[in-house]
Subunit: 191 residues, 4 copies
DNA sequence: TATGAATGAGACTTCATTCAT
DNA sequence: TATGAATGAAGTCTCATTCAT
């Protein structure tokens, strides 16, 4: 029998890789990075421990890939037309997308929040994270400048904190958190 | 020398217990619960591993005790005169105390935030936590009612989220976070 | 194109087998048997892991084949005309060939020395080795008898030891070992 | 009950450490470093795997300690009166001690020989080894100078090679190797 | 014939906890 | 009360070998 084509191998690899990443994301987010063993991931993903190392060179590589992947897909939520200016409509779009994101990708956001409290994990992705946060902050600062704020930096930090706080409470209490009301309140406050 | 009285022994025990807890808190907060070994704690506290087990029955018991202790000392920050009503001045006092707390007990607060993202740790203290949060929330709701809000519950949740978001950002970026400005902004917004 | 004949297939097989053995020999000698994975060999030889098992039934089979091959090609260095008698000239030829061999087939000789220090590898080739060494020794003994030595056995053992010692030092310190001088010294001593 | 005294602990530690090192030496020497697992050592030494790490921080640390220990005890075999000059009697003493050593500490010498063919192990102790070998060589060179050799360096290298070759053959064939005869032959040749 | 995904045993190492003294 | 040696389970990772295609 002839061997699989390169294409077939590629497909198998892609599918497996995604399965591993999804499983790992869920476990990392709910149990924590340290408490999630490679073994647990492998069992839940229905593969052998050894195979995981065929796709990721280490546990660190795995979480890094997951987080970087997530950060990549965040690009585009703010300043959609990339003109460096954030209009009122764009901010509203951003806020709405933020709520969508935490509802649809709860696990990823849990992981993201976790990061900041696990130094040894944070260190792995710090550089990328700082760049991204800095980009976002600059946008918000410009927005408040344009709105005529007399302390746009503090305003930006405050908005950042508010959003994270909301995300945080949502994670902690998903079932009863009044997402829609809070979203409207926020839009009224800022847009 | 006369033999120590029972009382003296008790005092030594208490002092040592506190020393262990302080050491452990610092390590748990800075290195993480899993990355902190009992050995490290014992060495840093200047005692033997064995003795530590004389004071705490397990690593879990240790962190649980630390967290409960912290929760206990939180009681009293809100509604100081226990009349179930929160005046504008009392809210301001509460907000100021909140900022004091995160600045002075950074380690404790790091640990507190960590909690929410690790099921198995959260489970340890969940019950106590729910009661405490509920109490706080009720107070805030009443405050907004008294202020004539048309949706006091959402307002309360929002304030809770804002505070946690601020704490979160402060923890994540202690060095450059503009504590004072944010505090003033908050007081202006809410009081 | 006409289909390959059986003969052509056989040639391809032989060539590939040799390529695998050469690659493996180099890696075994420079990195060590245990530190050399089948994977590394396959990659360096430009084939797949699976195919390697088409040529060798196991890693042990591979090293065994390499070593036996080497032992085979050693035959003929001594007593070239197979008359069971070693003349002075033939000994000189043997000594010179020995030096040629360790210089030109350094990898093989490294492997050969390694053998003696790992029971489980030695066991694989022990029998063959004993036969070969015995043959060599008998020759040397006869040589010293013919020279009129009063303890030809000890003389033979001594020469064997000296040669191995030289090989050993050459391997351990290839860069600065004075091959030529030592060779001349040896010939002067024994021929 | 009162705890063990510091002295008692020290004694336990010394005894255990020696037992582990002896066991490990034997296994490393006969099976090879890579083929000797920590597990095997622990079982043979009658302790748990974990305990071994109480005494040695890693497998590398273990072999390093063993080898350094051996090198330390070698000091003194050559130039016993430390005057930098090697007399004919001192050389004879050295040769005799060499034979004593390989007979009494066979395992250590096996390990020592092994070293040169396992790059990744050699690297661990290389520095110390080079210093020691250099010292020995300098002595031998001076000896041959004093004897009026016209190429003392080559003579020294040759003697070194001869000794190692003898050691090597002795290891490979301990049972039948004519130690005494070879020793006498050597003394006659060199002293 | 040829590929490389997949397995599973086993390697090194860490650490919470126990226990003799 | 106090010590730290000792254990054993579990964690990360490697790799010879198999097998579907």
């Amino acid at each position: 029998m002839s061997p699989r084509t390169e294409r077939q191998f590629e497909e198998i690899r892609e599918a497996r890789k995604k399965a591993i990443m999804d499983t790992a994301l869920e476990l990392f987010a709910t149990e924590g990075f340290d408490k999630t063993s490679i073994s647990k991931i492998a069992v839940k993903a229905g593969i052998s421990k050894g195979l995981l190392y065929n796709y990721f060179s280490s546990k660190e590589d795995l979480i890094k890939t997951i987080i970087f992947n997530g950060l990549d897909s965040l690009t585009g939520y703010i300043d959609p037309n990339h003109d460096g200016v954030l209009t009122r409509d764009e901010l509203q779009y951003f806020i709405e997308e933020f709520f969508n994101a935490i509802e649809k990708n709860e696990h990823y956001w849990r992981l993201y929040f976790t990061l900041f409290f696990q130094r040894h994990v944070l260190k792995l992705v710090e550089k990328r994270l700082i760049v991204m946060i800095h980009t976002y902050m600059k946008m918000l600062v410009r927005y408040f400048e344009a709105k005529g704020s007399d302390d746009p930096e503090t305003d930006a930090i405050m908005l950042g904190a508010v959003l994270d706080g909301i995300g945080f409470h949502f994670m902690a209490n998903t079932a009863t958190f009044p997402v829609e009301k809070i979203k409207q309140k926020l839009i009224k406050m800022y847009c």
